[in-house]
């Protein structure tokens, strides 16, 4: 059994699984942004005249809430495009 080969396989599998798991981070911002939009719609329904203010504040809040999801996405990208290469260098 070629252990070098096995080690590379395990490293690649780990990267792929890790990338998938990292994208679970998208759940949080999804729920959070949904809540934010729901409440913004409530507010607009109650006071349609302040639609502009509510919308711009909501978009800003949504973009801020998105940050953790973006962290997950960047981690996933690093695991797919960067980590395998450095593991292969390490193991060869």
């Amino acid at each position: 059994m070629d252990f070098q080969f096995l080690a590379k396989g395990i490293a690649l599998a780990g990267c792929a699984l890790g990338a998938g798991i990292a994208l679970i981070a998208g759940v949080g911002p999804g729920i959070g942004e949904g809540e934010a939009v729901a409440h913004a719609l409530d507010a607009i329904g109650r006071q349609p005249e302040c639609k502009g203010d509510v919308t711009s504040t909501m978009i800003l809040g949504c973009a801020l809430a998105e940050t953790t999801g973006i962290y997950g996405f960047v981690t996933g990208l690093l695991l797919i495009f960067v980590a395998p290469g450095s593991f292969m260098n390490l193991l060869s």
């Binding site: 800003l60 801020l64 998105e66 940050t67 990208l77």
Partner: protein, 252 residues
Amino acid sequence: MEVDITGARILFDTPINLPILGQLRITETMVISWLVMLVVTGLCIWLTRNLKTENISKRQAVAEMLVEMANKFVVGNMGEKFRYFVPFVAALFATSMVSNLIGLVGLRSPTADLSTEMAWAITVFVLITAQKIKTNGLGGYLKDFTTPIPLLTPFNILGEVATPIGMAFRHFGNILSGLVINTLLYAALAVASSALLGLIPGAVGAVLSQIPILDVGIPAILSVYFDWVSGVLQAYIFCMLTVMFIANAAEG
């Protein structure tokens, strides 16, 4: 199917060796940033040529509207005493927006490279810290880390460092995700169109299947969100956060 998603390419190496950073390399990001600077400078020169006080042209009206907007944005959010921040914030916004939108003409936008945003975020971080020290004094600034109890000092330091990292990653992640998704979509549509047109029998099908006909038009729908909405919104948010953080630092 070939999908080509890479970081910014290194165009050529210069023989200059910098002290800590190592060899100076000219990357795609730097060259396109120069282009962005040229575009922004050119726009500024074009918009501010022959200004008049009466009978203004449409061009001057646009220029006045933009300056007015920048003034309103900064003064409205930070107060009158921060009027001197208007040029900085406007420059940041213009550079960020042109950088994001330059991806539309097929160049790799400089903001899809973390170095660009990190540089901006560090600049903003220095401004925030300077403002904090100016408001509270150096002692007050350092003392601020031990509130509410000294035990929390590491967390306060972590929170302080998270500010520029968060700002940079938010902008970077949004633009890069647009780039990746667009690249994947182009590749997938090329495969789909070659499979679809390959159904035509004979030489005509063989020739037509080489042309990625589905790549025309369809990616534009996604581009509306990922390039236009995301690009403008992220530029706005980056400036908004800059303005907010500096205004908060001044309150002490």
